[in-house]
């Protein structure tokens, strides 16, 4: 087996990294080594993250932002410390960062700002200064793309249903890139004076395509629209500076970037967060409460109702510390620069290995250019579920199905694909295992 085409100097020390992840030492399905290629769905967690969560519970567990005792003080400091760590990681300031349950909730927080502002204004109720940017009228338009995960599509369909706004979308070409220059479906045709929101992914969870965010954001801002970026597949895998992207909101999940489940992040430009009505309401998010009305806290507290998930936020802070501390094997790259180089080398190698197998068709860009590490494919004559079953039997764990991007699969005329996603603990040998397992599936189902 040749792995000569892998740029080894770009790789992380996978053996050393793997030692931090206890789950990677277990075996599966009859003693097979676990080859985990489903980090796009959720990543595994290093000891450092697990220890941080446990440390919070064993040392300073208390409800944050309440109470005046020592534990409450320490718990609040740890929670806000995590916010600062994550803000620094994104080139943001802590007050622009809202903790949510996951990325889906973060996107809903923004989508509900629109439907809530529209509903309140319809009844003449009070809204924060600047909230008119969130009030929609019938005929206003919301633009998404054909490659969105359901999490960045269905919430906008819901907003349209509640406000009378109209959903439009940018289409995807055969290679899996956004068709921005198409005269009928391109940027200038779809984003118009009627556009109020442009919601798009930074990196497709199916195709791996990295979208030209800056260009789309500039077009959207030229017509006064707000830009919401789904960064679930970008923040864990590449350096992301929220200021330089030129967008208004960024949403991502902690569990896809070594953090615990139950923690997500919404970054928003502060003047926008300030002008948004609340999403979930109740304790913690108020300023004053009377029996018939309330006023609300400033962001980010306005959007963090109830006792927050402190241990998970601290775990995510530890995950960010872990990512920042990574080094490429030759020591030349640090942190997310090392992560992106590692994944790029693996993606190039995976695309090459899979393209060499007869009867395997990659859905998405076949060259590792403006592309992340999600590699989806169809195997001629074998349904994705059956491919996944054979892979699983050999210890190779991938995702099968439509990956919560059903319209995109329809666009490519396939009901389901098999998807491998790579992360910091995967090496070239995992790509080899994947390729060998695909060939084994072809033999089992007698399609070659």
């Amino acid at each position: 087996m040749t792995t000569s085409s892998v740029h080894r100097s770009d790789l992380l020390d996978v053996e050393a990294v793997s030692k931090d992840f206890p789950i990677l030492a277990r075996t599966v399905r009859g003693g097979n080594k676990l080859v985990y290629l489903d980090s796009g769905a959720t990543s595994q967690k290093p000891n450092q993250v697990l220890d941080a969560e446990r440390g919070f519970y064993t040392r300073c567990n208390a409800a944050v932002h309440r109470g005046a005792h020592l534990l409450a003080e320490e718990a609040t400091d740890a929670y806000e410390g995590a916010r600062l760590t994550i803000a620094n990681f994104l080139g943001a300031t802590p007050r622009e960062l809202v903790f949510t349950k996951n990325a889906t909730e973060a996107i809903n927080l923004v989508s509900y700002a629109f439907s809530n502002a529209t509903a309140k204004s319809g009844h003449g109720r009070s809204l924060p200064d600047g909230a008119e940017r969130f009030i929609l009228a019938p005929g206003d338009e919301i633009v998404v793309t054909q490659m969105e995960h359901h999490a960045n599509l269905v919430p906008w369909q819901e907003v349209c249903d509640k406000t009378g706004a109209v959903l439009r979308w940018l289409t995807v070409d055969d290679e899996g890139r956004l068709d921005l220059d198409d005269p009928e479906h391109g940027l200038n045709a779809v984003i118009t004076e009627r556009t109020r929101v442009v919601a798009l992914t930074h990196q497709s969870n199916v195709l791996g395509t990295i979208t030209p965010v800056e260009r789309i954001a500039a077009t959207a801002h030229a017509v006064g629209a707000l830009v919401v970026l789904d960064s679930c597949q970008s923040v864990p895998h590449m350096p992301v500076d929220v200021q330089s992207l030129g967008v208004d909101f960024v949403a991502f999940s902690g569990h896809k970037m070594l953090g615990p489940s139950g923690i997500g992040v919404l970054w928003g430009r502060y003047e926008l967060l300030e002008s948004m009505p609340p999403f979930l309401s109740g304790g913690s998010m108020i300023e004053t409460v009377h029996i018939d009305s309330s006023t609300f806290a400033a962001p980010p507290q306005r959007f963090e109702a109830g006792v927050p998930m402190a241990a998970q936020a601290i775990g995510l802070g530890a995950a960010v510390d872990y990512l920042n501390a990574l080094r490429s094997q030759d020591g030349s790259l640090h942190g997310m620069d090392a992560v992106v180089a590692h994944e790029h080398a693996l993606t190039s190698y995976a695309l090459e290995r899979l393209s060499d197998i007869n009867g395997v068709r990659i859905v998405g860009p076949t060259q590792a250019v403006q592309r992340g590490s999600a590699v989806s494919f169809v195997v001629d004559g074998i349904h994705a579920h059956d491919v996944g079953q054979v892979l699983d039997e050999m210890g190779v764990e991938v995702r099968v199905g439509h990956h919560c991007a059903w319209p995109l699969h329809r666009r490519f005329g396939v009901a389901a694909t098999t998807r491998a996603t790579f992360y910091i603990y995967n090496g070239p040998d995992d790509v080899d295992s994947l390729a060998e397992a695909i060939v084994a599936a072809q033999k089992f189902f007698k399609v070659v």
Binding site: R29, G30, H383, A384, H385, D386, Q389, V390, E393, M394, V400, G401, H402, W406, H409, A415, A416, F444, F445
Partner: protein, 152 residues
């Protein structure tokens, strides 16, 4: 590998050579069921003749398990009494939801016993059940339609 116990020859044969596939007229009820986690889908028609299931016809797309199971269903549930067929369908449901602990009865299930191995893979049980749940739905609708006609 356990793959052979999951993908028994009977299943692969029904997958590659589906029996009774294609939608046919006349029919008393038509249903469309999907598996939302993977996008597999089936359209299934049932034709009743009194208390007999006169025909089951279907079309759809999906994995080997879901497609073979529709083909086996066609063989097992066509041209029998509705009551017997409902018993067969319930036995199949019990087998699939039995996590590998239910001993299948070949006299009741016929070729459908081949799906016993699927019950050990919880993620695939829905694939095997897709057409059978569609069939139950269609039979219920067809029977309700018949009762309505008799009353009117």
């Amino acid at each position: 590998m356990d793959l052979e116990s999951l993908y028994q020859e009977i299943i692969l044969d029904h997958y590659k050579n589906p029996r009774g596939r294609g939608l046919r007229d006349p029919f008393d009820a038509e249903v469309h069921h999907v598996n939302p986690t993977c996008g597999d889908e089936i359209t299934l028609r049932v034709r009743l003749d009194g208390d007999r299931v006169a025909d089951v016809s279907y079309d759809g797309q999906g994995c080997s398990i879901s497609q073979a199971s529709a083909s086996v269903l066609f063989e097992q549930l066509t041209d029998h009494g509705v009551t017997d067929d409902l018993e067969t369908a319930d036995a199949f449901l019990a087998l699939m939801q039995g996590r590998g602990q239910v001993e299948p009865d070949e006299d009741v299930l016929g070729d459908a016993v081949a799906f016993a191995g699927v019950a050990k893979y919880p993620a695939r049980v829905k694939c095997a059940l897709l057409s059978w749940m569609a069939w139950k739905d269609a039979v219920a609708q067809a029977a309700a339609g018949q009762a309505h006609e008799e009353n009117s």
